[in-house]
């Protein structure tokens, strides 16, 4: 990275563009759920595929980080009685998020292809 102030190197390094494992799962869940992507179904989706419990708070924290990076956008829905009058917060993936997901998949696929076929599958 080239920047005129060396102080800024720190900041740019923290704004890394690659995705973590949990972030990638979240983005894929948001893509899969489409218009119905809010906290509850996202958490259920992750639980179903990961096979273990997920903290809704950590889901929101990660989604807020992704929103700050511009990879997802959120909007509040209408309040409903079964939620105690609390509104749902719907998430949708942005163009930048979609690009990042594909870029991550491309890199991961290339990396997987470089590996030899696991021997344990033949046994």
């Amino acid at each position: 990275l080239k920047i005129n102030y060396f102080f800024a190197i720190v900041e740019l390094m923290t704004d890394r563009s690659y995705l973590g494992e949990f972030e990638l799962m979240l983005l894929l869940a948001v893509i899969h759920l489409g218009e119905e992507a809010y906290g509850v179904p996202i958490s259920r989706e992750l639980e179903a595929h990961r096979g273990r419990s997920v903290s809704v708070g950590s889901v929101y924290a990660a989604l807020e980080r992704l929103e700050a990076k511009g990879m997802v956008a959120s909007s509040l829905g209408d309040p409903t009685p079964e939620r105690g009058g609390k509104a749902k917060r719907y998430f949708r993936i942005t163009k930048a998020g979609l690009r990042q997901v594909h870029e991550t998949r491309r890199v991961l696929s290339k990396l997987w292809k470089t590996l030899p076929e696991p021997k344990w599958e033949r046994i």
Binding site: K2, N4, Y5, F6, Y38, V56, Y60, A61, R83, K88
Partner: protein, 706 residues
């Protein structure tokens, strides 16, 4: 049975125990899941996890603030000591006497203002650092933080004081802070840490709500467009080679001038225990002198008739001066460290070169604009989705130069060649900064360049002053340590093989160190002290007289004794001229071994009889150190110092007989040693006299019984 309501305590925790307040959507999601059949335990786990995640997120968002508050509060003990000195000053005491019984109010006001100044300065530095990163605070938050900090400091200070005395009174009763400001800053004992607590909290709380916002998000990182018309306002008619040559000449002239002036003017304070305020003022002066000298040297060449910059300046001189001054401010600290033969010289040179090159590259980028057109930046935004367009970096030859410079500097540091290490590290840093500095094209107009140079200089000045203070403190501490370091055993013993430092202080000519042994007097018989000497005999009142027959040591810092190559000669200090030939102060000591130990409790006073023929300018003090060399730790007792009389010090007077003088040193009743078998006399000249060995000879010691 279907439950409709989750545990109310958990819900209350969710709504009140998170730093930002509860997210409505999160609480709604948890409620929805709970009503869908989740257990109470699940709800509790989710609430606790949400609180933990929320707090971790809040701390993560304020990591910079936490680290900064921690670092700034490290300075608090030194600041508090300074405040205490100011409050205890005589002028303020007179003012309180005038006020009379209401002195408490103005005294509290002064106390509050002093400590608030520290907090405000910290907040200002924090905000300025973020401004450099392109992050801005809301004005409302900043104003509130500046207002709140002094208001909450007083109660926090009071509570800390009360609690600390309640729980650790026994610890604090005998605790003291380190004597020097640097020691106070680095003091990590309980007393200093407790002092830091109110400052840490008073910095953290007001700035907690102030989250900086990035002001650069709307700006693309890389701009591919051509330079605008305003960006080319610095373009010159000179060819790039001439430009580079003369810019190099200007930088070189400034550097040489700054170093010359720094070598001539930057000196350690004469006092052995200077206060922080005087060191700070001295450091500010030195930094200003370094910057002005560098700029002045550049100005002379810039305006010389042979300079092409005189008629066709490629950029305004004031801008060049602002940019280059950010490098020259490091020169004084570098010079002071170099006089102590410290490896810090190299690292200071590296920092200065980096700052200088970074600023110079930024300011002169568009001067070399035609040559820089070949520079291209990786295209980030143009990559199509799903395409494979990884940027492949070209081979960069300058990286080899940087690496070679770094390795060579490391080798030079290993061999204690600090100047060579400084040169190579500075070269590497300069090259790195020059090659790695990117100048956004949209920030190229004159106003932005001036603003950026001024901000860079302002940001660099404070660290440069602090580093200069550090250099001064280190120099004074080093000098004091050399002066009171315990003397080794016998004067004629072989030097210790570990004394590598002594040989590093070799001058350009002459000897690395000198051991001067008195000429043996005819018919002189010096019997060793025995158990039946008068001093040891009970109820005696006769003093014990010991004729000096030891050696005089002349060596230089950072050595602690003459090196293995020391020149040995038989002569009297009154008859020889010994001077430093490498601008490093001389250390002069006289060592007398007693042969057997003397109980300290039987000795009331030591009189040192000297002969003085010293006519060099400057004062000399004489200090005495008693050492118990028999004990494994070789403990020593410092008896203090006495000024040597200046009478008869007339340089124009003809060579005359030496003046005899007796200096008395009382021995305390209780000391950390019980006996001594060595007497070390240290001759402590002031700065003016420090390069010449004093013409003072020790005649004898009179030990008065108690």
């Amino acid at each position: 049975m279907k439950r409709d309501h989750p545990p109310s305590l958990a819900t209350w925790m969710l709504e009140h125990s998170t730093p930002f307040g509860v997210d409505e959507a999160l609480s709604g999601d948890l409620l929805e899941e709970f009503r869908a059949g989740r257990s109470i335990g699940w709800y509790w786990r989710q609430v606790v996890a949400a609180c933990v995640v929320s707090w971790l997120g809040a701390l993560r968002a304020r990591m910079h603030l936490l680290v900064f508050a921690l670092l700034w509060s490290m300075l608090a003990p030194a600041w508090k000591v300074l405040c205490d000195r100011i409050q205890d000053s005589q002028s303020l005491n007179h003012a309180w006497e005038i006020v009379g019984g209401l002195w408490v109010l103005p005294a509290f006001a002064v106390w509050a203002v002093l400590h608030s100044t520290f907090l405000w300065a910290g907040m200002l530095v924090y905000i300025l650092c973020h401004a450099c990163l392109g992050k801005a605070f809301r004005g409302k938050h900043v104003r509130r933080a500046f207002l709140v900090a002094p208001l909450i400091f007083s109660p926090i200070y009071g509570v800390t004081f009360v609690l600390a005395n309640l729980y650790w009174y026994s610890v604090f009763a005998n605790a003291t802070l380190a004597p020097t400001p640097l020691g106070q800053i680095g003091d990590l004992r309980l007393l200093a840490d407790v002092m830091r607590i109110p400052y840490f909290i008073a910095l953290l709380c007001p700035l907690w709500a102030a989250i900086p916002r990035s002001t650069r998000n709307s700006q693309p990182l890389f701009i591919q467009s051509a330079p605008t018309e305003s960006s080319l306002s610095f373009a010159s008619t000179l060819d790039p080679f001439t430009l580079r040559r003369f810019f190099g000449l200007m930088v070189g002239a400034g550097l040489i001038n700054a170093m010359l002036i720094a070598f001539l003017l930057c000196r350690l304070p004469g006092s052995h225990a200077p206060d922080f305020a005087s060191l700070l003022i001295r450091a500010i002066g030195y930094v200003a002198v370094g910057a002005l000298a560098g700029v002045g040297g550049t100005w002379l060449y810039w305006k010389s008739p042979s300079s092409p910059f005189r008629e066709h300046p490629p950029l305004p001189f004031t801008l060049f001066a602002l940019v280059s001054a950010a490098g020259w401010v490091w020169v004084p600290s570098m010079v002071i460290f170099s006089e102590q033969i410290s490896a810090a010289t190299a690292f200071i040179a590296m920092i200065g070169a980096f700052v200088l090159a970074s600023g110079m590259r930024s300011a002169t980028y568009f001067v070399f604009a035609p040559a820089n057109r070949s520079l291209s930046f990786p295209e980030q935004g143009g990559a199509e989705l799903f395409t494979e367009s990884l940027h492949r970096s070209p081979t960069e030859l300058h990286a080899y130069g940087i690496a070679i410079g770094l390795y060579t500097a490391g080798a030079a540091l290993f061999t204690r060649s600090n100047y060579a290490a400084a040169a190579f590290l500075a070269f590497s840093a300069y090259l790195f900064a020059w090659k790695q500095t990117f100048v956004p094209i949209h920030d190229s107009d004159n106003k932005t360049q001036y603003k950026r140079a001024a901000i860079r200089l302002a940001l660099v000045v404070l660290p440069a002053i602090l580093v200069t203070v550090w250099a001064l403190l280190d120099g004074v501490a080093h000098r004091n340590h050399e002066e009171i370091s315990p003397a080794p055993a016998a004067s004629n013993e072989q030097p210790h093989p570990d004394t590598k430092f002594a040989s590093s202080a070799i001058g350009s000519d002459g000897y690395e160190s000198i051991i001067l042994l008195p000429r043996p007097e005819k018919k002189q018989i010096v019997a060793p002290l025995t158990a039946h000497t008068s001093l040891l005999a009970p109820a005696t009142s006769r003093p014990l007289v010991i004729r000096f027959n030891g050696a005089y040591w002349y060596f230089q810092s950072p050595g602690k004794r003459p090196g293995p190559e020391a020149h040995r000669a038989h002569d009297n200090p009154l008859a020889v001229n010994i001077e430093s030939s490498n601008f490093i102060p001389l250390i002069t000591e006289a060592h007398q071994s007693l042969g057997s130990a003397i109980p300290l409790a039987r000795c009331r006073e030591i009189q040192v009889v000297i002969e003085n023929r010293d006519r060099s300018p400057g004062a000399v003090a004489l200090a005495v150190l008693l050492t118990d060399s028999v004990s494994p730790a070789k403990p020593a007792l410092y008896l203090g110092q006495q000024p040597v009389s200046q009478a008869g010090k007339d340089r124009l007077a003809p060579r005359s007989a030496p003046v005899s003088e007796v200096l008395s040193f009382s021995i305390p009743d209780h000391a950390k040693i019980r006996r001594f078998d060595e007497i070390t006399v240290m001759l402590l000249p002031d700065v003016e006299h420090s390069f010449v060995g004093p013409k003072i000879a020790i005649q004898q010691f009179n030990l008065l019984p108690r």
